[in-house]
């Protein structure tokens, strides 16, 4: 059974330029202990969607349902939400500095999180903080708890963030681009830490990223977002090797995959639509090489393909011919 169910999530912002429809009917489920990859290009609504799960999008107009263990978080009261945030759903944000307090020692910040939810003394909380830092691979954790955020490198700060998000052993960890600002070798360290924590604690992870490489490495299931909606949902291999949606295809053929040294890339032409005036019908239609008449009139529903876990919001037949897939190219 799904641990977390997001159903027809809608989030919009009223701005002077018009209503920004950042998330337009997003649905997915997260199974306990699994990793869901949420992938899409800049502005596709990934951050807004995951922030809305714990109702951190203030000033937004929100609709739909976000059900954690039978409770709809979108209608929960503040007190219930406080119980959920941190304790049941941990979050790592895109920018680590924005969520670490610069003037407090790292250890103190972790202790505060623990003590806000548990009846536990300073010394015990401090020991837990040091344990957590050790767990995410910070050397000499007993002394580093006394350091301030600026005394850590970018990769270490990101690991401190993971330690904080994991402090209360949440069932769900939402990680919004946790490694985007990091170098590849440091990214590998951080992803390795997340993988090991997941094994140890059975945490379910929602991994938000624009990097299909990160998705290929660690997602069990993938949701591809475009213009605030899911274009395609599928288990990882299914998505990479048997994708259906032309947008997914475009993302994959844009990549210099395994670098066949020459050969042109096949990027998607044009750029994404404004979220203030999303075209009627399929949002991808203006850029889609397969678009036909119906596409720009009626929005396609998420159709189920041969694998019942695979859905694609596209009018093309389920057995449509595709550009050579990654598998055939390999």
């Amino acid at each position: 059974m799904a641990l977390l169910e997001v159903e027809d999530l809608r989030v919009s912002f009223d701005t002077p330029d018009g209503v920004v429809r950042a998330v337009r009917g997003l649905s997915f489920t997260l199974a306990a202990g699994s990793t869901l990859g949420l992938v899409g290009e800049s502005g596709s609504g990934k951050s807004v969607a995951v922030q809305t799960i714990t109702r951190l999008t203030r000033g937004a107009d929100v609709g739909g349902r976000v059900v954690l263990d039978g409770v709809d978080l979108l209608t929960a009261n503040e007190e219930e939400l406080r119980e959920v945030r941190g304790a049941r759903i941990g979050m790592i944000f895109q920018d680590p500095l924005s969520s670490l307090h610069p003037y407090h020692r790292i250890g103190w910040q972790i202790e505060e999180i623990i003590r806000a939810h548990e009846d536990i003394g300073r010394a015990a909380a401090r020991a837990r903080a040091a344990d957590l830092l050790g767990l995410v691979g910070i050397p000499r954790p007993e002394t580093r708890v006394d350091d301030y955020p600026h005394q850590f490198s970018g990769g270490m700060r990101q690991r401190v963030m993971i330690a904080m998000a994991m402090a209360l052993s949440p069932e769900v960890l939402i990680a919004d681009e946790p490694t985007t600002a990091l170098d590849v070798t440091v990214q590998a360290q951080v992803l390795d830490v997340m993988r090991r924590l997941q094994e140890e604690f059975g945490t379910a992870i929602i991994m938000v990223t624009h990097d299909l490489g990160v998705i290929a490495e660690l997602a069990d299931d993938v949701v591809v977002m475009y213009a605030g909606a899911a274009m395609e949902r599928a288990p990882r291999r299914e998505l990479f090797y048997r994708y259906h949606h032309p947008y997914t295809e475009g993302l994959l053929t844009s990549l210099p995959l395994r670098g066949e040294a020459s050969g042109r890339l096949r990027p998607i032409p044009g750029s994404p639509p404004s979220l203030i005036a999303v075209p009627p019908g399929c949002p991808f239609a203006p850029r889609c090489q397969y678009a036909f008449e119906r596409c720009s009139i009626t929005p396609p529903l998420a159709a189920v393909l041969a694998d019942p876990r695979h859905q694609s919001a596209c009018w093309l037949p389920a057995d449509r011919p595709r550009q050579e897939s990654a598998e055939e190219a390999a």
Partner: protein, 347 residues
């Protein structure tokens, strides 16, 4: 290489004053941003430059394009020593040596119209009258895939990818021979990134352009480059033809970098054995002794901390494959099985 190189860099050094350290309160020291780099780029060739944050890629690029004056060593462009040329003496050469930058937002003046921005090089070099310039600018806009009718728009009215095209159009205005590209696609989404990479490839075919192409994205660099130089803490640690570098890396750092980069292919991702390096990149103010990679290197031995390895062919490699390592990787050697690094790392 039998042809004269278009660009010849020899023992290039660039240091910056380190400033007071917030941590220690101690003033001073020197940032060894680029520390003795030598390389050649042949006409029509694309040389890729990869490495992690702070390893000196941008500094090297800016020294080569002479937006910075090197502290030591030599930069020879098309036979002329430009290492210490003044701005005025550089100007006639500037036509042939252009740079495009990572940040398509920061590098364009928001208050100037796009036509004026792209036409700058004509104005600076006093080429053509107003009408001629406008015509040339519109040709350039068309060349890089911008709508020439948008001549009078401001940068804010363009998307990230379009702004990068504006930067490319400006750099191409005077038909340069060498284009130094510092992370030209890093800030862009993959679909837009692909458009720009194809554009650069077309321009290369059409005008025989020579590129120095910087990126921290290995798959992008592999796709565009003939040869690749891998940098670590101000030095080139390996230099080889692209495919050779990917197939048979000799330097443990190259291998670690290759194995760490995520690949958008589940089978490849699952079958790969990752080399997870410990620790972070050390400070370029006080780089480690001997081989700078030794505190993080899975193959480090005592001697590595003592003497710096030269960048040269190893294990009988041909002259165009060079690595700076005392204990280079044998073909098929498994780095993940190597002994753990020296405890704490020797400094």
């Amino acid at each position: 290489m039998d042809t004269e190189p278009l660009l010849h860099v020899e023992g290039l050094v660039k240091e910056f004053p380190a400033g007071a350290s917030a941590l220690t309160g101690r003033a001073g020291g020197v940032v060894h941003a680029v520390d003795g780099v030598s390389l050649d780029v042949a006409p029509g060739e694309t040389l890729g430059l990869v490495g992690e944050t702070g390893c000196g890629k941008s500094t090297l690029a800016r020294c080569v394009a002479r937006l910075l004056e090197p502290t030591g060593g030599r930069v020879v462009f098309d036979g002329a020593d430009i290492t210490h040329l003044s701005g005025a003496r550089m100007r006639p050469l500037r036509r042939n040596l252009q740079m495009i930058f990572q940040d398509p937002f920061g590098s364009l003046n928001p208050r100037r119209r796009v036509g004026a921005i792209i036409g700058d090089p004509f104005a600076i070099h006093g080429l053509g009258g107003r009408a001629v310039r406008k015509g040339r600018v519109q040709e350039l806009m068309e060349l890089v895939g911008l709508n020439p009718e948008h001549y009078n728009r401001f940068p804010a009215e363009f998307s990230g990818g379009q702004r990068q095209r504006i930067g490319i159009a400006r750099a191409l205005a005077l038909r340069p021979r060498l284009l130094v590209c510092d992370e030209p696609v890093s800030a862009l989404d993959v679909s837009i990134q692909g458009q720009i990479i194809n554009l650069l490839a077309d321009l290369r075919t059409e005008f025989g352009l020579t590129y120095v192409f910087i990126s921290h994205d290995l798959s992008v660099v592999r796709h565009v480059s003939d040869r690749i130089a891998v940098m670590y803490l101000g030095k080139i640690v390996e230099l080889a033809p692209s495919e050779v570098l990917f197939e048979r890396p000799r330097h443990p750092y190259t291998r670690a970098l290759l194995s760490a980069a995520p690949v958008a292919d589940p089978d490849a991702a699952d079958s790969r054995r990752r080399v997870i390096l410990g620790g972070d990149v050390p400070s370029p103010v006080a780089p480690p002794s001997g081989c700078r990679f030794h505190p993080r290197c899975p193959k480090a031995r005592e001697d590595c901390a003592l003497t710096e390895p030269p960048l040269e062919p190893v294990l009988g490699d041909p002259d165009d494959h060079r690595a700076a390592c005392w204990h280079p990787l044998q073909a098929g050697e498994d780095l993940t099985a190597a002994p753990a690094p020296l405890p704490g790392g020797v400094r």
